[in-house]
């Protein structure tokens, strides 16, 4: 069929099964928006900032497992979206981001709202395209969805000049994608998997090191099975939270800079690391030369470039975690779970020595208490997004996660302003769950305008501000490593968050006691409206335990023991 480039975009989105597009219009993308107006197959959600559109698409993608779609105009529309692209790139989130561009005839002339968009996005996307003729659009859009979602997922950017959206050409979306130069390997080498299983069976202190790749390959429930059958303890990265249930006896906790003492000690003492979809990030490893020093490494990853990038893998396995774990389960009878009983006990002893906990206070609300309390009140019924800072780490440490895709947070880029728009996307993807954004008094102001989107589209996200009147995470480093010089981190100057919420048509609560918090959260959930719960918390609380940057995992700063009165 002969249709315009703009119509092709619509047809392609429909063919890809897209139900929601997050976006913001402008001159160069107007032809496409005109076609959006005329159709009724998918929703468009107008965010109030392009960065938020991309973060919302990320939240949607993470919660649903589908490709998130965002649409923006050229120039400033595109540059506003770059942080979102970079965020999705770092966290391997499948997105297709479509931007308008000035007409072909004006490219390179410093035209109005012209920017070299593909030049900018090249280093923060999995792939990108500048479409030069409408005849290429069906192929490019189909490839974009395929590339975003296959192999190691990631954002793909498609830049379409305005005249290309007006051109008429043949639209045929039925041709299967065939990119000769891109054939991700999803099936792990069976012989290699067998060798790995033999290594597991003969190891004394093996340890599962579970990463975000387990979640993105939808392998969490298979991993639960493998862990159960082998009886091997497991640590999770920040990105993998929810892979194992919080009460799974095999789960130690998160490891890394703010991981638990037991998780980090287990990693330091293990003799066999079984890395599944984890990338040995510096927040996880600490000092590389001391990381899992006496261990061999099995590394399963779909991206060959992840393997042996930082830590040498003795058993490299390139493939989709899901396929590999299914094969491992089949071979698991060679592993005897009783073999590791002593090892499991060693780990319990670590945990008893320095459990992941905090000191309660009768007067002030401790920020960690808020997270635990949300967990007690909502638990499995909530999806949790966060912004970036201390509140984010406490959420990762203390929320009782029960399932994969329950947890949506910016790990690799650490983007303040991510949480609220992401929580909108999460709500779109999972309307039956309560969508909570745990945020800070700093971060929330970085996309506060999304209150309008949330109210307009009836997306009742509950923002819980752990209000410490500080850029708390930076303040913590200043306290610990800069001799308490709190340079430009004091946020005592604050808006009235209750009024801010109300001004946009939402509902606001200011909370200073535990009872007030319970009442506010229950009320917000019951009313099912957009809310801000501004919780005044102990402002000098630090995230503990902590591996100082560049330090070794076994050298943690620990929670100070409370002196007995």
């Amino acid at each position: 069929m002969q249709i315009s480039g703009a119509q092709m975009v619509i047809e392609a989105l429909i063919a890809e099964g897209v139900d929601t597009v997050f976006g913001y219009p402008g001159g160069a993308i107007m032809n496409v928006y005109d076609e959006i107006y005329k159709q009724d197959k998918f929703h468009h959600i107008l965010t109030r900032h392009e960065q938020a559109a991309v973060h919302a698409a990320e939240g949607y993608a993470k919660a649903s497992g589908k490709v998130g779609v965002a649409m923006i105009t050229s120039g400033p529309g595109f540059t506003n979206a770059v942080t979102g692209l970079a965020d999705a790139y770092m966290d391997s989130i499948p997105l297709v981001v479509i931007s308008g561009q000035v007409p072909m005839s004006l490219i390179g002339t410093d035209a109005f709202q012209e920017i070299d968009a593909v030049g900018i996005s090249r280093s923060c996307t999995k792939h990108n395209y500048l479409v030069t003729t409408a005849a290429d659009l069906p192929r490019i859009l189909k490839e974009a969805f395929y590339i975003a979602s296959s192999g190691r997922p990631g954002p793909v950017h498609v830049d379409i000049p305005k005249d290309v959206t007006a051109q008429i050409a043949e639209f045929d979306y039925s041709k299967p994608v065939d990119i000769e130069t891109y054939k991700p390997n999803t099936k792990g080498n069976t012989r290699q998997i067998k060798k790995a299983m033999e290594a597991i069976a003969s190891a004394r202190r093996p340890l599962f090191y579970l990463g975000g790749g387990v979640v993105s390959s939808n392998a969490a429930y298979d991993v639960r099975e493998l862990v159960k059958r082998t009886g091997i303890p497991a640590v999770e990265t920040f990105m993998a939270r929810g892979t194992l249930r919080y009460d799974d006896p095999h789960l130690i906790s998160m490891l890394g800079m703010h991981g638990s003492y037991a998780a980090n000690m287990a990693m330091s003492e293990t003799d066999l690391v079984i890395a599944l979809g984890a990338r040995f990030d510096d927040r996880v490893t600490g000092k590389l030369s001391e990381f899992a020093k006496n261990a061999e490494v099995i590394h399963v990853d779909i991206d060959p470039a992840s393997i042996s990038k930082l830590v040498n893998a003795h058993y490299p396995i390139v493939g989709d975690v899901k396929n590999v774990v299914l094969e491992m389960i089949e071979m698991s009878s060679i592993v005897n779970p009783e073999r590791y009983e002593g090892w499991r006990e060693t780990i319990s002893n670590f945990d008893e020595l320095h459990p992941l906990t905090f000191h309660e206070d009768s007067e002030r609300i401790k920020p960690q208490w808020v997270i635990k309390r949300i967990g007690e009140l909502l638990g499995d019924d909530a999806n949790i997004s966060t912004d970036v800072g201390q509140h984010q780490m406490w959420s990762a440490q203390f929320y009782p996660f029960t399932r994969p895709r329950q947890w949506v947070s910016s790990g690799g880029l650490g983007t303040m302003g991510f949480g609220f728009p992401a929580a909108l996307g999460v709500k779109v993807a999972a309307p039956e769950k309560v969508s909570i954004n745990v945020t800070g008094d700093g971060s929330i102001l970085m996309n506060i305008q999304e209150l309008m989107t949330a109210v307009e589209k009836k997306l009742p996200v509950i923002n819980v501000i752990l209000n410490n009147n500080f850029l708390g995470m930076v303040r913590q480093w200043q306290t610990l490593f800069y001799d308490k010089r709190h340079s430009e981190t004091d946020l005592s100057m604050q808006p009235d968050f209750v009024k801010v919420a109300e001004a946009f048509g939402g509902i606001g609560y200011r909370v200073t006691t535990k009872d007030e918090f319970d009442a506010a959260l229950k009320d917000a959930v019951a009313k099912n409206v957009v809310a801000i719960i501004d919780v005044v918390v102990d402002r000098l609380e630090n995230v503990m335990p902590m591996v100082p940057a560049g330090g070794s995992l076994f050298n943690m700063m620990l929670l100070e023991k409370k002196e007995k009165k």
């Binding site: 593909v118 030049g119 090249r122 500048l130 000769e180 130069t181 991206d303 060959p304 470039a305 990038k309």
Partner: protein, 157 residues
Amino acid sequence: MEISERRVISVIVVNEASVLSRITDLFSARGYNITSLTVAPIPDSKYSRLTIVTSGSVRVVEQITKQLHKLIPVYKVYEHADLVEKEMALVKFPITENLSDISALCGAYNGKIVNVGNGVIITMVADEPRRVDHYLDAIKRYNPKEIVRSGAVALER
């Protein structure tokens, strides 16, 4: 310490507008160094061949190779061990220099005088990059006015 060595990598890529910048961006973004780079289309195909001379430890070069492979338009990456390598150099000399000496030198490096102009001559040599170095050293005394090197091309034996 990991030893940094000279490495030659050949990359077969789809001929398309942005492919070269994807590759050079990868090197600059990751702090890898490019010593020389040559590109030309492969006859009767939709591919081009790049020859990149770089340096790094075994681990770095392995990572470069994997990262190159990850780029969507990259078809194949070869990291060469046993190869035939050639590079060309063009040099301009004043015509007043000793032309028979220069010509003899060029001959020793698979070359000759290729152009005689008003006051200057241009010579061409084509040899292994290391030998081109020697040649350029040897001709210093003939006051070369301009030197152009092509960068290496290579084929596995």
